[in-house]
Symmetry: C2
Subunit: 153 residues, 2 copies
Amino acid sequence: MSRKRFDDLDCSLACALNEVGDWWSLLLIKQAMLGTRRFVDFQRNLGIAKNILVDRLCRLVESGVLARVDAGEHGTRYEYRLTEKGRDLFTVVIALRQWNLRWNGNRDGMRLLDKSSGEPISEVAVQNSEGEPLTIKDVLFVDENGQPLEQAG
Amino acid sequence: MSRKRFDDLDCSLACALNEVGDWWSLLLIKQAMLGTRRFVDFQRNLGIAKNILVDRLCRLVESGVLARVDAGEHGTRYEYRLTEKGRDLFTVVIALRQWNLRWNGNRDGMRLLDKSSGEPISEVAVQNSEGEPLTIKDVLFVDENGQPLEQAG
DNA sequence: ACAAAAGAGTTGCAATACGAAACCAGATAT
DNA sequence: ATATCTGGTTTCGTATTGCAACTCTTTTGT
């Protein structure tokens, strides 16, 4: 039976996962962020099967994360480029990456630097309006009326 | 053939996705962050099939994101609680959620407030050491020797 | 005390998704 | 003209998913 979809779950996280929550999508996006644009290069860099790659690229184009642009004059070369929506996943990709670095150590040797200062970027964190980091214990989940969310279970 | 695993990909993102990159894991974690602890409650709140739920909970316990603790004195009731590692996924969950809010609008009416000030939390972002937000264009990817990463394609 | 329900899983089955490799058509290179 | 590259599509066998039914132990209701 088909994978369960989350559109109807009325949950922002679920909707996000519907668009980029499968095994390959975020890797494709990260690869695109590193500069990969061509079908064959995605394939070579990630070792993904072609049929799956076609499917994922189409999905991501449909949801507006990637744009398929004609590259080359004869209509058989294309580039898949990140849109603004796709580039905006930067935070998510980096947050996941940093989480893995913290808990599982560094697998790739890659580091990220602030281009203008040359210094490492800082750790992504949830912050209050003053820029102080917040853990889950510091936040309150409320509904649209400002009522604290009581957990059904 | 089995789903392709990313352990060998030498990529932190890939490793992270190996642990929490499937359709259900992050939803389970978010639900746990909202306070759900019991098997039946995960099932009811998410509508996940029991066999899949068993599988996912086991995986997450194995990778140290959840801990299975005996609740009830007779050894047949359990609670699945976030570990420190699991709680540390807060940033990732919120980043994904905010991304979806920005691009697809608000589906649930939920809002997050700083418990101590009552104000909304700010948007998660990649920042430099001064706390200024960085987009992907502001950062440089370098290898362990500090050499800029040239993209193979 | 006894029956009924809940909690935490298992098991079996059908539908689907995935991965590998073969195949294909238009453009390019030799 | 022949071979190769690109961006796919097709086929086929395996893996994963979802659903429903079933278990076994503990709790709850009367």
